[in-house]
Subunit: 518 residues, 2 copies
């Protein structure tokens, strides 16, 4: 450690002491003092992205998989803005992320140089807190406050604005790790657990809607015990940040997307929320409600801020459930579906996905079919798009692979959303990450066409076609991947897809399959 | 025209009446009512981008070249956020842009559905005004107000937030075009012009620093007369939105980038500002000033809000300058530079660029050398990166080509910044745009390495190398272009570059040259 330390080194040393191990960076001139500090603070690994959305999406994936806070390093307001979409998703996922934005020197800011903008205004919508670092001497305590906010359950994004003169200023040496002093998850009052148990003892259909941290192994094993004891159906929130699936874990139904489907799916069941929000329509549709379950059928066992896992275990105990939960049912082998379809891709995945795979899932073409069958696969984890900002899948896969180098990562990706952050492919190649990317290439915005059809529109009209079809020209994902240094093949039938998948899984580095769907 | 009209149709009909001809769109579910309205309002051409930054950058290029307002259509807060970086540049360019953001139905907004975010907070930093449309009945007057703000000199960005229920509501028919009622550019008081003339009559070195609208043909011809009469050096602001160059137009020096270079360049000259801002350091460097010209050497003839062109003509008259300006000097032919370098690329451009070319310039590798020699080329226009948010060049080229279909567009593009919005290549292919893209491929963040060297850093350190070198792996721009349907070749010497450039210029559609610089 150097004798003198500047604000940038103090910032990173404090972050290191509080558990930061990776910084997803796309630096510019105002971040160079931090880049030089990264040279000194070698415990923090810098990972370069060619676009800021890659950095923020990777930070999100990293935080979801590791549970550790992730750093990003971004260039002023515009660079940060490029990362906002994936931070929007990360905020919904409660991912612990500390953004570091280099800013002009405080004395230069009043002159409105070209890159000056209102960073606070851009950062606030996705940040639990925005902290402007005002003095090198206070950097360590400011950073400790940021980690406290970010890493306390359920997790939050904190954005640090770091002016160059503050980063270059003299800071006191960071001698001891500042205490992170994290707020623990709130324990659910016993009465609330007891009330749920009483409710579940009454007759009538029951749904346990599980979300957030309860979708990890411990929560799910408790949920399985509750199911066994009460007969409740187990549902997961529609877009989990990360969920454990497959192997001997219980089969979770997924809450549907469209409001009429949700209403049909839930029927007149009482719904108990365990870390999930109440079912809300994704969009507002004229004549349909926003709230999809009437308040008198809703009961909250635990909110996302609570210790949901503990609450589930206490509820299982209260219900007198057996300690071990039910024996897993052997899933029935599926008949191989005819032709090439999302279902065929899913069957290949179920057959070949190795134990411990992490799936980064974006888009409904493969997302829906995969989550219907995922319980039949070996044990794995799935990250979904929590906030609806597209361009999450590929960057999240990058972050997952860096968080968990021993795991195979599979990116199940619709083509429309893949375009937003395709630069992630370069980082996959650069870092040699074991990611197998499957692009569901239907060359259209499928969800928009579905919505248009539901609203009675005729898709053959020229403008609707022009704004929802992507087939003129068709993107060649094999060429795009190769352009970024990633090996790639095209597969247009089930057999060649399965062979391509095996080829990808056998590689130590990244591989892309353009699944050309009919 | 239909008997009944919804808010979305009213919005677009009003926009059409006020001069909107193109909408650069990346729609999502909340914009589908506007997509359907585009089906009806056929005078507005929808142009699809695969990423929002492509749409906003294209809108900027379109507005700069055509002088007409451009529309964008973007999806909620996260979609808008992806467009912020190029809107930051457009704001600095004073481009007239109307963003339309679909939002949740007003009655759905309180339920904080996944895609909900604080759109106003995201939009404010780049918008001269943010208008939330509250009623279909008032859409036409709200849109007229937006155009008034956007199209009044010097031009501004206005963001409209359009909730789906308001867009679906009943609107009164738009019978007559609402008056745009634009505020004209302010005329500079005669005394101010006279004061400048008196100042220029005094002995000592003089610089006329020209910016904004004064960089068009009329302003430059007036500037040439002033130069002839006063001996003033003509400089252009360092990052013009659009400037006319070449042919018989006067040779403009470009204001330098680094503060010490600017100080050297200007010496002890008196500086007269004509539509340009006072010289400010791009970044703040310890020990160097932010303001690069002392106030007592600065005089403003006209601000960007003023009628700068008229002020220059009045000044020329006051100085008794000849009406026609000096005869252009025939530029000396340059010796072809040895080897392959930016200078060799520039010489090929000067030889081959057709009259009326529009150049979209991003990055210093080609930008600096090109602007030094541009006066030797045939008449052309150049757009530069006004705000420093990178990823502008390719989208701006798209917008320019759509604004001016008869022109050849050349995108002179550094590779580092090209990655941010490479999806623009797809729109070039889809629309068959006559754009010749030249990627200066040096596989590094050159500007960061320059800044690090200036600050005394040793570039051989692993982290500095890792965060500024892009050569592991090297992006293959030929593959990336082909992936998006654009023909492409690689050129690694001057002769093959020249042949490739001719090949590209002969094509009706887009073409990319990866200029592999040593």
């Amino acid at each position: 450690m150097t004798e003198t330390m500047n604000g940038a080194v103090a910032l990173l040393r404090t972050a290191e002491a509080l558990g930061a191990q990776v910084c997803f960076a796309n630096p510019g001139t105002t971040e160079l003092v931090l880049v030089r500090a990264l040279e000194e603070v070698t415990a923090i690994r810098p990972v370069l992205g060619l676009f800021e959305g890659v950095c923020t999406g990777a930070a999100d994936g990293y935080a979801r998989v590791s549970g550790r806070p992730a750093l990003t390093l971004l260039h002023l307001g515009p660079g940060f803005a490029n990362g906002v979409a994936n931070l929007h998703n990360a905020r919904r996922a409660h991912s612990a992320i500390i953004n570091i934005i280099g800013d002009h020197a405080t004395w230069h800011l009043p002159f409105d140089a070209p890159l000056t903008s209102d960073i606070e205004s851009l950062a606030s919508p996705v940040s639990g807190a925005v902290i402007r670092l005002n003095s090198a001497a206070h950097v360590a305590s400011d950073v400790a406050a940021a980690f406290r906010k970010a890493a306390s359950p359920p997790g939050a994004i904190v954005t640090l604005i770091a002016p160059t003169d503050v980063m270059e200023g003299s800071a006191p040496e960071v001698v001891a790790a500042p205490s992170p002093d994290l707020r623990p998850a709130a324990q659910v009052p016993e009465g609330q657990v007891a009330a749920c148990a009483q409710l579940m003892a009454k007759p009538g259909p029951l749904v346990l809607l599980i979300g957030g941290a309860a979708l990890g192994e411990r929560g799910l094993r408790a949920a399985a015990r509750i199911q066994e004891a009460s007969g409740a159906r187990l549902l997961m929130e529609p877009y989990p940040a990360i969920v454990d699936l497959g192997g001997d874990l219980p089969h979770l139904e997924r809450l549907a997307y469209f409001p009429d489907d949700v209403i049909r799916q839930l029927g007149d069941a009482k719904v108990i929320l365990a870390g999930a929000r109440e079912p809300i329509s994704y969009f507002g549709y004229e004549g349909q409600p926003s709230q999809l379950v009437h308040a008198d059928r809703l009961t909250e066992l635990a909110s996302p801020e609570d210790d949901t896992v503990l609450a589930l275990e206490q509820l299982a105990d209260k219900l007198g459930a057996a300690k071990t939960g039910p024996a897993p049912r052997a899933p029935a082998p599926a008949a191989p579906p005819p032709g090439f379809s999302p279902a065929a891709i899913v069957e290949a995945l179920i057959a070949l996905m190795p134990e411990g795979t992490i799936v980064s899932l974006e888009g409904s073409t493969l997302g829906g079919p995969f989550l219907q069958q995922a319980h039949r696969a070996r044990r794995h984890r799935v990250m979904t798009n929590t906030g609806g900002a597209i361009g999450q899948g590929l960057p999240c896969a990058v972050g997952a692979a860096i968080a968990c180098p021993e795991a195979r990562v599979i990116s199940l990706q619709s083509d429309g959303s893949a375009h937003y952050t395709l630069q992630a492919l370069w980082t996959m190649a650069r870092e040699g990450l074991p990611i197998t990317v499957i692009i569901a290439a239907n060359h259209r915005y499928g969800i928009l066409q579905t919505e248009l059809r539901r609203s009675g529109a005729d898709l053959d009209q020229p403008v609707l076609d022009r704004l929802t079809q992507l087939d003129q020209p068709r993107a060649d994902w094999v060429a795009l991947a190769q352009g970024y240094g990633v090996q790639a093949v095209r597969a247009a039938d089930a057999e060649s897809f399965r062979a391509a998948l095996q080829q990808g899984l056998d590689l130590a580095g990244p591989f892309l399959i353009q699944a050309e769907l009919p």
